[in-house]
């Protein structure tokens, strides 16, 4: 017994001071290998008396367990130490820059179009489109604006031929004409898109964006028009209350016609929408003129409804505090990065119109 006790004590001492994993493994073999010291001691058991054997066996097993525990603890200890050392050596400066992030952006006009479409989608409108090049009939005549009508002067038109037959649409209203000509009432559409007028200064660009709205059914009246636009403006500017004013105006293709102003004030140099005692004109609208309905083969004694046209760029400027319309179309990298929207920021009802 004392022999094996001594062996145990020696090896425990040895293991206590040992820090090399290979040497610990060698010790393990020395003790428990095929011809290991303890293995041999176990082999000897067979040659001693039964009484002694029992006692010795129990001692041997205890020693074996103790040593084995010691060895595995040691191995773990050394391994942990080594891993820690390795990790210590591998430490990098994580404040170094990541690989370049390439951030794309959606242009404010596109974002605002999506916002508008999302809002009108909620109240059952679908989206229609029309070509940028229009004929004179769809852009003017069908819209109750015959040639030689002074209202045509309000639109500085780009022409593609000398007969003034082909032009760049001056508003999105020709989409009304196209939509009604190709279908049967009821109609409930919006039509966003590019529009063109040969006008260029701080507040006018030769190309800009409008969204047309049209709702024709049997009993659509000015109250519906008011309700629809009221809903839209409140949703768009994401405010609970909006000061809004309908004011009589004139467009050849609607009768009665109205312009809509919203209240605003300037607070700390920034425009605040919805309050205040100043008025800002934001859109034109009205009941579709019976002459227009006749022109598109809709019976005005059966069907009636409203139409509106909203300047998209202007709405975007107001909502997102953009001062210069021209900058929309100048492709300045800095401007696009600053005012652009994240592509994942898709306007929707359930996630909220804007972040």
């Amino acid at each position: 017994m004392s022999d094996i006790k001594k062996i145990k004590d020696d090896y425990i001492d040895k293991l206590n001071t040992e820090n090399n994993i290979d040497k610990v493994n060698n010790i393990k073999t020395e003790l428990f290998g095929k011809n290991g010291i303890l293995s041999n001691e176990f082999k000897k058991l067979g040659s001693i008396s039964v009484e002694k054997r029992k006692e010795l066996a129990s001692d041997l097993n205890n020693i074996k367990d103790e040593l084995q525990n010691k060895i595995s603890t040691k191995i773990q200890e050394i391994e942990t130490k080594e891993i820690n050392l390795k990790l210590e050596r591998e430490k990098i400066d994580v404040t170094l820059p990541e690989r370049d992030i390439e951030i794309g952006k959606i242009h404010p006009v596109s974002q605002v179009i999506d916002e508008i479409s999302s809002i009108f989608s909620e109240i059952g409108f679908s989206v229609e489109e029309g070509p940028d090049v229009e004929n004179e009939y769809n852009n003017f005549t069908a819209l109750n604006t015959p040639d030689n009508h002074p209202a045509r002067d309000m639109h500085d038109t780009f022409y593609l031929d000398n007969n003034k037959e082909l032009l760049l649409r001056t508003h999105t209203s020709p989409v009304q004409v196209r939509t009604m000509l190709k279908g049967k009432p009821p109609f409930k559409i919006i039509a966003p898109g590019r529009t063109y007028r040969s006008d260029s200064d701080q507040t006018h660009a030769p190309m800009f964006h409008q969204v047309e709205g049209l709702h024709i059914d049997k009993n659509i009246n000015m109250g519906h028009l008011k309700g629809c636009l009221n809903y839209f403006i409140k949703e768009f500017f994401e405010v609970d209350k909006i000061k809004m004013r309908f004011r009589p105006s004139h467009f050849p293709f609607t009768e009665p016609s109205a312009e809509v102003d919203i209240g605003y004030e300037i607070k700390n140099g920034k425009i605040v929408i919805g309050e205040g005692n100043k008025w800002l004109e934001i859109l034109g609208c009205g009941m579709v003129h019976p002459n227009v309905l006749k022109n598109v083969k809709v019976n005005p004694s059966k069907y009636q409804g409203y139409a509106f046209g909203i300047g998209i760029d202007r709405l975007g400027m107001l909502k997102y505090g953009i001062n210069d319309l021209r900058a929309f179309f100048e492709t300045d990298y800095r401007w696009l990065s600053h005012f652009g929207f994240d592509p994942l920021d898709v306007p929707s009802n359930y996630r909220g119109l804007s972040r």
Partner: protein, 802 residues
């Protein structure tokens, strides 16, 4: 349309204050653009204080003054006045001011080598006295806290500026505005005084209106006023003319203008002694000419309505008079004209000759055809009152009678259109106040439309009149009905939306550029499309519709490169025009990528952007938008603006004719021609119209979910193959060996040169083989390997590298 409240009150008895009137005008559709004092030339002169007066470095008698004019900074002014000293309060005139004494316009100037911004003024320079020895010395107690304010009080009455819509010519006269206000309850329209004018003798200049193919004039009224003394207008009249923003000319001209703005009744005064015998109203013949009152000579076309005498054209009827018969201070006898010209003819002539006058503006919108006499009488009275003279009987020649407009109006249409009800009694009252003659026939109102309202022709116009006067605030707000007739977006609209955001998510900034472009740049991208010029472009460098989306993108890319940006990714989604007819347009995404990847990276090697960067972006975007990658076929035929060797076309599947996308390097010639300064420029484009619409929704498109858990094996092969042989072909050959077993083929190495024969290249592929039925053994795999090698070798002429 400008006028003063004072002027309005000539026609309207009202208890409304100014602000109430302004609000009412806007509420009934007469939009007030502004309400302010007309600007005066004297507005620029302001109270200022000399902070520091030092001697001019180059002139002993001049002083250099730092002047406080109320802003953040002082202004430096050179001044010769002996009394200029520190602390003096005086009057300052900034550059641009007009000095009353000599009418000189100040500009920034150098005086003896020192720049002087404006001037300090003496009393004599401001015509306040003859004192010219020094600059004005303002009393401290009165002006000390007025630095920066206007020195002269603007005493002119505030002017209302209305924006009158083209349907309302009647409101181009003050009386019309008063009538609208009275209908809206803002007062009572004053009844015109009965004229007690005495007429003597006849209008003995013969007037003839010729019947013409294109009639320009239907009525011509006139009278002679003999023995007048033309002169400066009296102050009240001058003030009225000035409030319109116009310059008084002479009493006679001012009176005709005054009546025009008062009644919307344009008139013209001729010097009767300059008329050759008679007046003939007729159509012009091509080549006739006259000198107009704007001092321009106009050469006329056929069928323009002219007022002429025996010697020729006197003026363009309803548009502009001529110098030959113009009134002057010396004019003794006047022929006063009050006529009706047809809007169409006026508009056509004035557009053609590019003339815009107040008379033309009114006639083209429609002047009251029954106001001929009223205008003559009102103007004659004023002329007699101011210039004296005797008035002849009125002579009115007519070739057509005014046709009344009668509308049978069902009041129910009002409620049906507006959604609210107005009692018949109120409705009739409104219409009567607007000048309608109303009679009732059971439920229907028979309405005689006033002659000054050419815009009112049908029942809906009546609805508008009533709701406008009643007030739009009475319209209810109905909650929007949410019923939907069809889905919000169709397939292509969804695709637009998807691709737009998909491309942006690859790091591209979306831009929006003009649909027109510079033909010189367009030329480089238009391929076989016809150029589409704009007849009246906004500028010569935006003179055609873009045939491709790239001209503007590349133009602005260059601008950003010139701004110092090096790594740029931009895209636009929008129209490219293929012809000049409506609908000849495609919806295209164009994207450009310039510069380097990993520029100045501390851990990666930087490299130029290349074709495979954009190939990845375009393919990934298409896949995200729902196109199957496995179906996509690439070829190397691309438009000429691409680098012919480093660009490709993308086809939705092998049967498609049109490439739905292209990608690659831009042609080096374009970089050179446009002087683009970048290390590398790659582009891609997607044509949305060429993407085939999927008829099925994704729920129907998803195939059965199948997968295999049997062991898969990977094998690598390297082939020596002709340099021009496409890797896509090789991959297809390998796949076709066994579509079921070969799960994927990946090209992992391509090289030419060392150890590879001239004209050949080496392609290495990694092939994944997996069965869905069993684990393949060595024998199975060997067989497949052999088949792959033999197929490739026989179909492509390649040799396996040993």
């Amino acid at each position: 349309m400008k006028f003063t409240i004072d002027w309005l009150k000539n026609h309207l008895d009202t208890k409304f204050n100014n602000n109430q009137i302004i609000d009412k005008l806007t509420n009934i559709g007469l939009e007030v653009e502004s309400f302010e004092s007309s600007t005066s030339e004297l507005d620029t002169f302001i109270v200022a204080k000399i902070i520091n007066a030092k001697t001019h470095p180059n002139a002993d008698r001049l002083k250099l003054c730092d002047v406080d004019i109320g802003g953040d900074k002082t202004i430096e002014v050179v001044c010769g006045a002996p009394n200029a000293k520190n602390g003096l309060l005086t009057v300052y005139a900034p550059p641009g001011s007009i000095i009353p004494k000599n009418q000189m316009k100040l500009s920034v100037s150098k005086i003896r080598g020192v720049t002087s911004y404006g001037m300090l003024c003496s009393e004599s320079e401001l015509l306040l006295s003859n004192e010219s020895d020094g600059i004005i010395d303002l009393k401290n107690n009165k002006y000390a806290n007025k630095i920066g304010e206007k020195y002269f009080k603007n005493t002119s009455e505030k002017v209302i500026d209305l924006s009158i819509t083209p349907n309302r010519p009647d409101c181009l006269g003050v009386r019309g505005i008063a009538r609208d206000l009275s209908a809206a309850g803002a007062g009572k329209l004053k009844i015109n005084k009965k004229s007690n004018l005495k007429y003597r003798g006849n209008q003995n200049i013969n007037v003839t209106i010729k019947k013409e193919k294109v009639q320009g004039c239907t009525t011509f009224g006139s009278c002679l006023i003999k023995g007048v003394t033309n002169k400066e207008s009296p102050k009240w009249l001058k003030d009225k003319i000035k409030s319109l923003g116009q310059k008084p000319i002479s009493a006679i001209v001012d009176i005709t203008n005054y009546v025009m703005f008062d009644l919307n009744r344009p008139l013209h005064a001729y010097d009767a002694d300059k008329i050759d015998n008679e007046i003939i109203v007729r159509s012009s013949s091509k080549g006739e000419s006259f000198e107009a009152l704007d001092n321009k000579k106009y050469i006329l076309e056929n069928d323009m309505c002219v007022i002429s005498d025996r010697s020729g054209v006197l003026g363009l009827g309803g548009i502009i008079g001529g110098t030959r018969s113009g009134t002057e201070y010396s004019t003794k006898n006047i022929l006063l004209e009050s006529a009706y010209f047809l809007p169409r003819s006026i508009r056509k002539t004035s557009k053609h000759l590019n003339i815009d006058t107040d008379a033309k503006f009114r006639f083209e919108r429609g002047v009251d055809p029954l106001s001929i006499e009223e205008g003559l009488i009102k103007a004659s009275e004023l002329i007699k009152q101011i210039c004296g003279g005797e008035i002849s009987n009125l002579d009115v020649k007519k070739i057509e009678n005014y046709k009344k407009t009668i509308i049978n109006f069902d009041p129910f249409l009002f409620e049906k259109t507006t959604g609210f009800n107005v009692e018949n009694k109120e409705l009739i009252k409104i219409l009567e106040k607007l000048g309608f003659n109303v009679s009732k026939n059971k439920k229907i109102l028979k309405l005689l439309v006033p002659s000054w309202r050419p815009d009112i022709t049908q029942s809906i116009d009546i609805v508008e009149e009533i709701v406008r006067i009643k007030g739009y605030e009475h319209i209810n707000t109905s909650e929007p009905v949410k019923t939907r007739l069809k889905p919000t977006l169709n397939y292509y609209q969804k695709l637009f939306h998807f691709l737009q955001r998909s491309v942006a998510s690859k790091g591209y900034l979306e831009t929006v550029t003009w649909s027109f472009t510079d033909s010189k740049i367009n030329q480089l991208f238009k391929e076989n499309d016809q150029e589409i010029p704009i007849v009246n472009p906004i500028s010569s460098d935006l003179n055609v519709l873009r045939n491709s989306i790239f001209p503007n993108l590349i133009f602005y890319l260059k601008k950003n490169l010139d701004r110092g940006f090096k790594d740029i990714s931009l895209f636009e989604i929008g129209p490219a025009f293929k012809g000049k007819n409506p609908g000849d347009q495609l919806t295209v995404i164009g994207a450009v990528k310039a510069g380097k990847v990993s520029r100045l990276s501390w851990n990666d090697k930087e490299r130029n952007v290349d074709t495979f960067d954009v190939k990845k972006d375009v393919i990934q975007s298409l896949c995200e938008a729902g196109i199957y990658k496995d179906d996509i076929v690439i070829d190397d035929k691309t438009p000429s603006y691409y680098h012919p060797g480093k660009s490709g076309g993308v086809y939705q599947n092998k049967n498609e004719k049109n490439a739905l996308a292209y990608f690659g390097e831009i042609h080096p010639n374009i970089i050179k021609k446009l002087d683009i300064n970048t290390e590398s420029l790659v582009i891609f484009e997607i044509c949305l119209d060429y993407i085939k619409e999927s008829k099925q929704k994704i729920k129907d498109l998803k195939s059965e979910y199948k997968f295999s858990d049997f062991q898969k094996s990977e094998r690598d092969f390297a082939f020596i193959i002709n340099k021009n042989f496409k890797s896509q072909e090789l991959v297809n050959i390998i796949k076709s060996v066994d579509n079921k077993l070969i799960k994927s083929v990946r090209v992992f190495d391509v090289f030419e040169g060392e150890n590879i024969p001239e004209g050949k290249k080496s392609i290495a592929v990694n092939v994944t083989i997996q069965s869905e039925e069993k684990t393949l053994n060595e024998n199975d795999l060997d067989n497949i390997n052999k088949l792959i090698i033999s197929s490739v070798e026989s179909k492509s002429g390649a040799k396996i590298r040993s």
